[in-house]
Symmetry: C2
Subunit: 203 residues, 2 copies
């Protein structure tokens, strides 16, 4: 302040430089934090995807192996229950296969999202496909659940009798498959919400 114009000129550059450095530091810090949050979300996304894949595969396997032959038979036919007796269970198996296949194929893209947290287009693509596959998984699980409920309890109004008294193993396996499918659907719902948060944070 008390110096001449020349010394003022000498003073100014370091001040400007330090303020510049501060500015760089202050802009870098939120960027890194945001990148870290995004990476964390992507890793969580990968873990959820892996869990949903396991649940969907388990559901498909339980449904696919669910046939039971009763130990007694008449002269004309054996009593046997299998998933392909009911079209809803066939749909369930196909849908769970598609869901598991999609989840397995989407794992590499999820890894790309971890490595490159700013790939917004990829996240958006995953979000769209996740939403469609979530709907498929939910509908398969709900339709199978409706039939499993009928198999357990029957319905007196329509005269549909419960078949679980005879085919106990079959019913247990099918019920397990439905529970697995609902777990997969729940995990995929979280996946969709997580993707939305991930896209929201990208700016």
């Amino acid at each position: 302040m008390k110096n001449s114009g020349d010394s003022t000129v000498i003073d100014v550059p370091p001040t400007a430089a330090s303020s510049k450095k501060k500015a760089v530091v202050s802009t870098a810090a939120p960027g890194q934090a945001s990148g870290g949050v995004k990476r964390g979300l992507s890793i969580f996304d990968f873990v959820l995807r892996l869990g949903a894949l396991g649940a969907a595969l388990g559901a498909a396997a339980a449904m696919g192996t669910s046939d039971e032959t009763l130990p007694f038979f008449t002269q004309f036919f054996q009593f046997e229950a299998s998933y392909d007796d009911l079209p809803t269970f066939q749909f369930f198996l196909i849908a769970m296969g598609i869901v598991a296949g999609y989840l397995a194929l989407s794992l590499p893209f999820s890894i790309v999202c971890i490595v490159r947290p700013r790939a917004v287009g990829l996240r958006l693509l995953l979000l769209i496909l996740d939403t469609v596959v979530l709907t498929l998984a939910t509908s398969a699980a709900a339709a199978a659940a409706a039939i499993v409920y009928l198999a357990h309890d029957g319905n007196t109004s329509t005269n549909w009798l419960a078949i679980c008294d005879q085919f106990d193993d079959f019913c247990q396996k099918v019920s397990g498959a439905v529970i697995g499918a609902f777990i997969a659907a729940l995990l995929m719902m979280f996946l969709v919400l997580l993707s939305a948060f991930g896209i929201r944070n990208t700016h």
Copy 2:
């Protein structure tokens, strides 16, 4: 170019001013365009929401009024089919009621999104609730579809007979309700994807 330094000084200010004006215009234009896109998305969101509300209300109404009494009766009881004979249809009616109620309540918030295109928190809240309600609508539609299929075709393996031969009107109403529910679910899937795009564009 051929002028002296004095005339150059006179030339500079207007150039700077005009470039400033241009800069202001060029920064304002994308902002307005982005706001316009967001407002367009919000209006489309409102229309989709209205459509889904109509479909859900129609589905609930068709299911709620679906009872049929056959014109003949025995000494002991009348033959009557109603949605509350089947627990799946009761679940369908309750779920569609919740979906329609949520969609009606979310309409004002959708209007807020049109008026204030930058309300990201509100969009995120709507996206989360939309995803949850989408899952509810899908599961109700799929479960009812499984039962309707059974009512139409029956199943020989489990000895469940088709009831639509007798209760034709009942089956038609219930089938219409299921179709309405699937339309509502489809519109809500588009709602979720639209919300994701809307959030993506906010930066």
